[in-house]
Amino acid sequence: MSYTILEKKQIAPQVHLMKVLAPDVAKAAKAGQFIILRIDETSERIPLTIADFDADEGYVTIIFQEMGKTTKQLAQMTDRDVLLDFVGPLGKPADVRKLGTVILVGGGVGIAPVYPQVKAYRDAGNKVISVIGARNKDLLILEDEMQAASDELYIATDDGSKGHHGFVTDVAKKILDSGEKIARIVVIGPPILMKVAAGMTAPYGVETIVSLNPIMIDGTGMCGGCRVSVGGETKFACVDGPEFDAHKVDFNLLMSRLGLYRPEEAQCQENHQCTCRSGN
């Protein structure tokens, strides 16, 4: 199959947004789900969250950060290029219901998957307080969109270049301490952020949901490579998730499994850099 890139733009250093023509996926997509794409014949399959979708126009938006070979190769692509494969929507949709007031926390590129959820929680009649953060203000993505979609928006940067000087979890904690009744917190970002957030919210007894990002291949429940441990049970994140109860997730296992192919990934990038005119 082939899927045309309608639009591609850089939205922050090493962070790109891409609108891909995939009408069947766009029609079925729901907040919280993801796609798996393959650039070309020799490419690997990589999962990316659906950051936005338009069923009428038939496109799906993805936002990705350059990490290694495949995302760097993807970053080189431009309008009207085609992707060989783009399959989805995968995973269970986020369990969005009317709950009252919810906090949605996005860290780094994790803001991208949080954005459609902000809209969905709002549409379901919730009051949405969003907290987004990044290392510095240049890396902060979707600020305007998040501002428009949320009832309240808070910002945190590690270096203090914008908003609270510190972590998004500090801001979320302040909101919890303010006494406002919070029905649920959704946290999406690097595993370490989700782990810290889980630890932070536990004493408050607030339901906390995270979206896990283990290494995946098929995304259809066929390989078991994406297995995570939740409440002592093994789950396949691609079909049983990607969202789970943060207080039950074994984050250490997740983080260690994410590091499994570090040596190969490094080798892969070296080889790639010799053969491609990557400017990054």
Binding site: E44, I217, C223, T234
Partner: protein, 458 residues
């Protein structure tokens, strides 16, 4: 004195452990005719009863004896649309060849190899493009692109129905593509078979998951009939300690990385795989053999099969067990893993195993193994591959209200392949649980017949 069974020429055992090229090279024409000549052309051929699709075995073999390979393949194709595949992967020793009259003397006619020869002969010449049938105006959806679905789609297209095939992965073939390795079943063969059904007019859609993009509910309204050939792709784990450590793979993941994603050509292909030094594969079926032999080809120093029963109980094809042994795979039989031991950084260090003894026969008639107290021992390993079976892919079940499923997760069908939903049939591993290519094809064939009858009457 009966002539001896012709041996299959193989790639040299040492040589082949360093490449992924096909191991069995196929008979030469002389060998094929010599082997065909051993067939007695029995009046009441028992062999045919052993073949799930009832190929006219003495018929095609007689044509081979006369050197008429074109006629022979035509005979085979009357009932089997994937002979190049079946000739290679059917467990002949428990099917057609088991019942051959010559089997009693230990050397049945090599029916599978002869079938393969005819199919390869035709492939070399180039398969003639099929003539498309007159359109019936009826539309059928076929879910999955494994052997069950390929067979059903071909048969339905030949009847003139407009067939659309939906496959979740980016490539067709099901297990033939992602599971069975290149050295046993070259992917070009599978690709040609899919090309053939496309020429029949089948519209093949990959990257298309039923249950996600569309539900079965929607599909059965959009189409006049539906066939489900979604396979048994959900891997089982043992539930022992250490199973989520880095370096523990399901056979499905290991083989998918190697076959579908071509990790054996990393980094030219970007999908990585861990190339272990000491690899343990748990299980004794075809899947275990394929995983073990793939690990060896990826450069492992030592690969062992750990299996809880004995040699006679190994469910793998005999030929592949022999090939594996020749290649140096170690068989640790009557041995069962107890837990996987952890090394640095949550990696695998070894597997603690226990010796087993065969006890009394169970309901299935097989003697079930029981652990021998105090026989625990540790085998060093950095990679462990679990190949203890799979169950049906559950994804099809979301949005399929009314589809009856057994407690094992298999789709329930009647003797004509009909499910509990009016215009929906199912077959293959999705119905039986993990079985064989030829039984999946047989089921696809039966379902096509049922659907065809249904469409003619509705």
């Amino acid at each position: 004195m009966m002539a001896a069974r012709q041996a299959m020429p193989h790639q040299d055992a040492k040589e082949r452990t360093r490449n992924f090229d096909e191991v069995a090279l196929g008979y030469t024409e002389e060998q094929a005719i010599a082997e065909a000549s051993r067939c007695l052309e029995c009046r009441n051929p028992k062999c045919v009863q052993g073949c799930p699709v009832e190929i006219d075995i003495p018929g095609f073999i007689a044509q081979m004896k006369a050197g008429d390979f074109d006629e022979a393949i035509a005979t085979i194709k009357l009932t089997n649309s994937l002979p190049a595949v079946c000739g290679r992967v059917c467990p002949q020793e428990v099917q057609c060849e088991e019942l051959c009259v010559l089997a009693k003397k230990g050397e049945p006619v090599a029916i599978g190899r002869l079938e393969r020869f005819c199919a390869d002969h035709e492939r070399k010449k180039g398969v003639a493009a099929p003539v498309r049938a007159q359109s019936t105006g009826k539309r059928v959806a076929v879910v999955g692109a494994g052997p069950a679905s390929l067979t059903a789609a071909a048969d339905l297209a030949k009847e003139g129905h407009a067939v659309t095939m939906f496959e979740a992965l980016h490539d067709t073939g099901g297990v033939l593509t992602y599971g069975i390795p290149e050295f046993r079943l070259p992917k070009s063969i599978v690709r040609d078979e899919v090309e053939y059904i496309k020429q029949l007019g089948v519209d093949v859609k990959v990257d298309y998951i039923i249950g996600k993009i569309k539900t079965l509910e929607e599909l059965k309204n959009d189409f006049d009939a539906v066939f489900l050939g979604t396979g048994a792709g959900l891997p089982k784990f043992m539930g022992i300690e250490g199973e989520n450590l880095n370096g523990v793979y399901s056979a499905n993941e290991f083989l998918t990385r190697v076959n579908l994603m071509k990790a054996y050509r990393f980094p030219d292909y970007s999908t990585p795989i861990k190339r272990g030094k000491h690899v343990i594969v748990v299980g004794g079926g075809n899947v275990a053999m394929d995983a073990a032999r793939s690990a060896l080809r990826l450069g492992a120093e030592e690969v062992s099969i750990v299996y809880r029963r004995g040699e006679d109980e190994l469910p793998a094809r005999k030929e592949e067990v022999e090939n594996a042994k020749e290649e140096g795979i170690i068989f640790r039989l009557l041995t069962n893993p107890v837990r996987i031991l952890q090394g640095d950084n949550m990696t695998v260090k070894g597997v603690e195993c226990i010796r087993m003894e065969l006890g009394e026969p169970d309901e299935s008639g097989r003697r079930s193994p029981v652990p021998k107290a105090g026989s625990e021992h540790v085998i060093d390993a950095d990679i462990v591959i679990i190949a203890i079976g799979t169950s049906p892919n559950p994804m099809i079940l979301s949005g399929s209200d009314g589809l009856k499923v057994s407690p094992r997760g298999t789709i329930v069908v009647d003797e004509s392949a009909k499910t509990s939903i009016g215009n929906v049939c199912a077959g293959g591993d999705a119905v039986t649980g993990a079985a064989t290519v030829i039984s999946a094809m047989g089921a696809g064939k039966l379902a096509a017949q049922t659907i065809n009858d249904y469409l003619r009457n509705n």
